[in-house]
């Protein structure tokens, strides 16, 4: 409660010890006063009025102060609504003056007290110490804030200076947290500002560092410096100023390889972290380039989301060239004619510039969505599996690509950022928002949830309808007509049961058979006939099965469908008209029990049933041969389970001859052979598919290379031990 009474005098006064005290006579002592014999007797202290007076004075002072502050509070609280705040004045408390404890014997020096005129307490100034000189005072007059509010323009500088060249958001800041100041050190001082007294000037005269004039290699105390270069044969170091000249000719592949190899294992590297390419890093790069041709930069964390931008900015600001990039590692080459002496000099940033305030990354209702949709998405996102987990200082170079791919599948994408700092993953989110164009939905639970936005377009072109082809083909099965070179999809017909399939094919075949002019017989064999004789192109796979069942139906007493097929076939395949061949087989022996024929039959039926592509006949042939030679066997029991199959295959493998060895083809030989074999014989009368075992060895490649060269450059005499590249150099 505020005291309203103006208290000007203490309410209560200390009781005066002596009613007879006459203040006009300080020396007067009342007669009844106790007198002590010693001067400054310690015991007399409490009776010493002067002492008491000082105490009293101090008490009074304290009391005054207490009541004054109370009064002030009371009065300001009243008028606080009307009074304007004074933001600019920062109140600095001066502290209460602490007087040293006074010695019990005044004037006596003791370790607990200091003499009253001690210099420390001499001038107890009420004013605070003057504030340290703010940088604002020393701001050089020619630093201006650039357009986007975060960059600094200095006259004569080649580009605007920023704190970070890669991590500055493209969005304009809303405001600055403090009044702006120049982050560059004071330019009025002749020496760099280190905050300490100047060092005594060194007597040693430092020679100016010229990269082209190297110290002699024997000189002691000199750190290793790499020679300038690399130089193409016939050129040397040049003193040039422009950027392109410094870079020189583009590096050849060999030079690049050499430089990269020399740098891969080096320990010296610059690290780039969450602030990306900072202004001071430019100076560090030049410091590296003083002694080595290539600067190795390792990027980790937030900045790696956009490696392309980093490379661009590096090349632009430093004038070097990125010769190697892998993941987060960059190699920056300084240029052939780089000289440390003529490098561009920028003022260093001694402190971080003012922190700008950016607009919120995720508004409650992101653009393009209503509140309901947004909450829906956030809810769905909580259950979504993240596409990737980001490590704390990892390399996120392919994150953008992955997010784009993931957007093809689902409109929401979630990335797990457990373990990463909040500010970091928000920066990642902001970058993704710009690079993958997407809309950020939420950052909850250390995950980033993104939506692909309304204007998202798939990067794949509209898929061509391969399935469409198949569908149309399937239609044609039932449609009669000239089936010239039509592929028919078996799949659609396949899905029906085999019996049904056989029915449809039968129908189809009936039609086709009709067309092709064969007689339609009711007997199983005849039907098989028709089917065989029918147009080869229109046959689907199901036909084979249909065949089996057809053959079964007439009730042949045979072991199984394969046996049926076996019977239906005999004799060599006539080329081109496998149909006739099969017909003959059908009408021929009915009761053959040779397994080989079974194989042939099944295959023959399959082949023409399938398609009339010539190579299938060949395959068929091969299979037939395999069975003939005993390397293959057809299983008659379709219900054989895995174990049974295994047993049989093991047993069979013992008796079968060893198969051919797979060899990769020597190219030259086969090209020539192909030319010879170039067939005009699609209408081949005899398929002379001589079983050819591919067993020829891989040709040695070296002699062939020599042959090539000899062909093309007959004037060059190939020397015995001359390697190919040396030859090439001779020819070049």
């Amino acid at each position: 409660m505020a005291l309203k009474l103006p208290i000007s005098f203490p309410i209560f006064s200390p009781p005066s010890p002596n009613p007879y005290t006459n203040t006009n006579e300080p020396g007067h002592r009342p007669p009844t006063e106790i007198r002590f014999s010693h001067w400054n007797n310690a015991n007399a202290e409490k009776f010493n009025q002067r002492r008491r007076a000082q105490q009293e004075i101090e008490d009074d002072i304290r009391r005054y102060r207490r009541f004054d502050s109370a009064t002030k509070i009371a009065t300001t609280v009243e008028s606080s609504s009307s009074s304007t705040p004074q933001p600019t004045e920062t109140y600095k408390s001066f502290g209460s003056p602490s007087s040293p404890s006074s010695p019990s014997i005044p004037g006596k020096k003791s370790k607990y007290s200091k003499p009253p005129n001690h210099p420390a307490f001499r001038k107890l100034s009420k004013a605070a110490n003057p504030p340290p000189p703010s940088p604002l005072d020393k701001k050089p007059a020619n630093v201006a804030i650039g357009e986007d509010g975060v960059s600094f323009v200095i006259d004569g500088a080649p580009f605007e200076f920023k704190y970070s060249y890669t991590e500055t958001p493209k969005v304009k800041p809303v405001k600055l947290r403090e009044p702006p100041y120049s982050p560059f050190g004071p330019t009025t001082m002749p020496r760099p500002w280190t905050g300490r007294a100047p060092l005594p000037p060194s007597k040693k005269k430092m020679k100016e560092f010229d990269s082209f004039v190297l110290p002699p290699p024997e000189k002691k105390g000199v750190k290793s410096i790499q020679k300038p270069g690399p130089y193409l044969p016939g050129t040397g170091p040049r003193y040039v100023q422009s950027r392109e000249e410094i870079l020189g000719e583009p590096l050849t592949a060999e030079e690049v390889k050499e430089l990269v190899n020399s740098c891969l294992k080096s320990q010296r590297q610059l690290n780039m972290g969450r602030d990306g390419l900072t202004h001071n890093m430019l100076d560090n790069i030049h410091a590296h380039w003083k002694r080595r041709r290539v600067c190795k930069i390792k990027c980790k964390g937030v900045c790696t989301v956009d490696m392309n931008n980093i490379c661009e900015q590096l090349e632009e600001r430093t004038g070097g060239k990125v010769i190697f990039r892998r993941g987060g590692v960059l190699f920056l080459f300084r240029g052939r004619n780089y000289n440390y002496k003529t490098r561009p000099r920028f003022p260093l940033m001694l402190w971080k510039p003012v922190t700008p305030v950016y607009p919120r990354l995720i508004p409650r209702v992101p653009e393009g969505l209503t509140l309901q949709e947004a909450t829906e998405m956030r809810k769905k996102g909580r259950k979504l599996m993240p596409i990737r987990k980001l490590a704390k200082n990892g390399v996120y170079a392919d994150l953008v690509k992955n997010v784009r791919e993931a957007f093809e599948e689902c409109e929401l994408v979630r990335i797990s950022c457990q373990g990463i700092k909040g500010s970091d993953y928000k920066k990642i989110g902001a970058k993704l928002k710009e690079l993958v164009p997407c809309v950020l939905i939420s950052f909850e639970d250390e995950h980033i949830l993104m939506w692909r936005g309304n204007n998202w377009k798939s990067s794949f072109s509209k898929p061509s309808s391969n399935s469409g082809i198949e569908k149309t083909n399937a239609d044609r099965v039932s449609i009669t007509g000239q089936l010239e070179g039509q592929e028919l999809s078996l799949t659609y017909v396949q899905t029906a049961g085999i019996m049904e399939a056989s029915q449809t094919t039968l129908d189809g075949m009936d039609y086709v058979g009709h067309e092709s002019g064969s007689e339609v017989n009711t007997s199983g064999s005849a039907i098989a006939d028709d089917i065989k004789s029918a147009d080869a192109e229109s046959e689907t796979w199901t036909m084979t099965y249909g065949l089996e069942h057809i053959l079964d139906n007439p009730g042949r007493a045979n072991e199984g469908p394969s046996a049926m097929l076996m019977e239906s076939h005999v004799g060599p395949m006539s080329p081109g008209s496998s149909q006739s061949h099969l017909e003959s087989s059908v009408t021929d022996s009915i009761n053959h029990d040779q397994l080989e024929i079974v194989a042939e039959a099944s295959l023959d039926i399959n082949r023409p049933a399938r398609m009339s592509a010539p190579c299938t006949e060949r395959v068929l042939h091969l299979m037939k041969q395999a069975v003939e030679s005993g390397s293959a066997v057809i299983l008659d029991d379709p219900t054989l389970d895995a174990d049974g199959i295994y047993q049989r295959s093991v047993a069979f493998a013992r008796s079968a001859p060893p198969g051919p060895v797979f060899r990769r083809q020597p190219r030259k030989m086969s090209i020539q052979k192909n030319k010879e074999l170039e067939p005009g014989n699609l209408e081949v009368k005899e398929v002379t598919a001589v079983p050819h075992k591919r067993g020829y060895e891989k040709q040695a490649s070296k002699p062939r290379r020599f042959k090539n060269i000899a062909e093309h450059h007959p004037e060059v005499v190939p020397k015995g031990s001359l390697r190919v590249d040396e030859l090439a150099k001779l020819l070049a």
Binding site: K383, L384, I387, E405, E408, E409, C410, N466, I469, G485, E487, L490, T491, S518, D535, W541, Y545, S562, G576, S577, Q579, T587, D588, S602, M611, A613, P614, C615, T616, R618, V619, L622, A626, V627, S631, A632, V633, I634, L635, P638, A642, I645, Y646, S649, V650, A656, G659, V661, F662, Q665, M669, K673, N674, P679, G680, E683, V690, H692, R694, K698
Partner: protein, 244 residues
């Protein structure tokens, strides 16, 4: 023995384009490969036969285990394409058939996994299937469960079956593969025990779905080769569990 040779048939064969056998030399020795533009005129279908091999261990004991997903995929393909696996040749169970106009062999090597190469190599050599038309189907631990990936070439990924096949294919790696993801073994589980374990019910469902999708993919591959559709398929598989 009436041979009703349908003469029109042979004539129909004529207008087909000649064989351009330059690209892949070895197999075209006797292979009359015709490249026929499809109905759309967009894709060229190659008629060189494909050898589709699924890796796995033979016998009932290993039926349905993780390492045998290759076999399961082959079974699925044979079911949907109607190709009977009824021949034993070169230590493998082989079935011969076609997708569209392209002949394919389906093979399930009956040698144990780390000797699979001994059956695949001779088989490929005998049928003169070029290296780029040998499709190997096997399980891949580096992919999550039920995720497929079609690659034109690759390494063995410490898969003994693939290693053996590569060894018997003259040490080459440039054959396409269909990798079926089975996920990493949980915790510190022994890798071999994990591979010879059967699938859990949830995983089983995922795998069944994956098999169906895989059959589609194989069809596309055989008919059209490696094109954008395959890339699209791979991407779709990669993110198929990240849908909401």
């Amino acid at each position: 023995m009436l041979h009703a040779i349908s003469v029109p048939n042979t004539c129909i064969l004529c207008p087909r384009s000649r064989c351009f056998g330059q690209r892949n030399q070895g197999s075209t020795r006797f292979c009359l490969r015709a490249s026929l533009p499809d109905n759309n005129g967009e894709f060229k279908v190659e008629y060189t036969p494909w050898l589709v091999v699924g890796l796995g261990n033979p016998g009932n004991k290993y039926h349905g285990t993780r390492h045998n997903v290759g076999f399961e995929m082959i079974d699925q393909i044979s079911q949907s394409e109607g190709i009977a696996l009824n021949t034993i040749q070169s230590k493998a169970l082989v079935g011969i058939g076609a997708i569209g106009e392209v002949p394919i062999f389906l093979a399930k090597p009956q040698a144990y996994m780390n000797f699979s190469g001994e059956s695949v190599g001779p088989l490929a050599a005998y049928y003169q299937v070029p290296l780029r038309h040998i499709l190997l189907i096997y399980d891949e631990m580096s992919l999550p469960n039920g995720v497929l990936r079609l690659q034109p070439k690759g390494g063995h990924g410490h898969h003994n079956g693939v290693k053996s096949v590569m060894g018997h294919l003259d040490g080459s790696r440039e054959f396409p593969r269909l990798c079926i993801g089975i996920g990493n073994p949980p915790g510190a589980m022994d890798m071999k025990a994990y591979l010879l374990q059967k699938f859990s019910p949830a995983e089983r469902n995922q795998i069944n779905e994956a098999l169906e999708q895989g059959v589609e993919a194989v069809r596309t591959l055989v008919l059209n080769g490696f094109n954008q559709k395959i890339t699209r398929f791979n991407l779709g598989q990669k993110y198929k569990h990240h849908k909401v």
